[in-house]
Amino acid sequence: MASKPAAALLATDMRAKQVSSPPPYTATGGLSAGSGIRQARRILEQVADPEIPVLTIADLGILRALRWRHDRLQVIITPTYSGCPAMQTIADDIRAALNRNGYTRVEVITQLAPPWTTDWLSAAGRKKLLQYGIVPPAGSTSKQSLRVPVTGLACPRCQSANTEEISRFGSTPCKALYRCNACLEPFDYFKCL
């Protein structure tokens, strides 16, 4: 059987919450379709991740595409971890940000393929993570296995490489917990996925 597009997945609970807000705005924000998309992208690039607020969804690489389907703006996102509770909040925040800016008919679609990888974290995102005290993913996922523990991470406070993993699972699915043996402070590591 020709299966359904992966885009249809998980979309049931996130689909087409249409907010009927009054004029003066039109569905396209009063702009032509093309500039409407560009403007929408600029709006969405400001939407922050609810758990790591220094990162936007664009930094995280979970914002995959924007397109018009008739008078509806479709926002395609991809989940980080299957069970990441932030995804629901992110979908709500996307709708709210666009609604606030005059896009009244917004549909958030979750797309699974290709699966999200930390390789999609932007360079700006990596820098912001480090400044926030979270060590960004080391290297590229294609070059390392999740099964090999990551060693020699530089402490975000004192730069010492004398660090060790203390918990493979952290406060959110995307992080592991490390400790610096030089300054003795713990720090988060954004796992390579």
């Binding site: 597009p5 299957s82 699972f169 699915p173």
Partner: protein, 250 residues
Amino acid sequence: MSSDLFQYIIRLGDNALINGQRLAEWCGRGPFLEEDLALANTALDLIGRARMLLSYAGEVEGQGRSEDDLAYFRNEREFRNFLIMELPVGDFAFTTARQFFVDAYDYYYYRALQDATDTTLAAIAAKTLKECEYHLRHSSEWMVRLGDGTAQSQARLTRAVAELMPFTPEFFAADEIDQVMQEQGIGVDLDTVATLWNNEVDRVLREAALARPPLSFTRGGGRQGLHSEHMGFLLAEMQSLQRTYPGLQW
């Protein structure tokens, strides 16, 4: 055909759901903070996987049932998970051994399922595989740590492995649905998965200094909807809120 596919997806979804539900019981009760986080995070991955699979099962069925309808409004006999998933959490050694057996199975199963001709299942498998790998690494390490640990930890893990091993042949018992799905390029070859699983289990048990117990009997029936006495209690807890207030949201 589409009802075979529905059943096939439901089995995968129920395994993830029931395993996740059991594992979530550890939340706030882990042996120490780091492990508490690990167990809860793993449970979250499993429930996320169950959501993807049950949503897709509902689409394939085409009767308008959502992931929630399938999770909360089916009765015991309609669940298709392996019996091993529904067994009570037991002690930490029991949870570790179960997770190891299941993680190793999931890892090789979803690795093969990535090549399914059904693009949605292939996408779910590719997404899931990364998480399975992480889970397997974690549970394998605990197997070695407990098995090659103190007399106490070794005794508990030995007992857990002996209790759980009879439930594992159910992983590989192919039936008609598996055959139909495999012929269509969707289902995976369970014999291949069995070989890989056995090698992985032997390798880790050896490293954990544990002998693999001989199989004197086997347990199964979950895939036919014939569950253990534990399943009703699990469902009662999992479903009571939605059954009391159907459609409740927060």
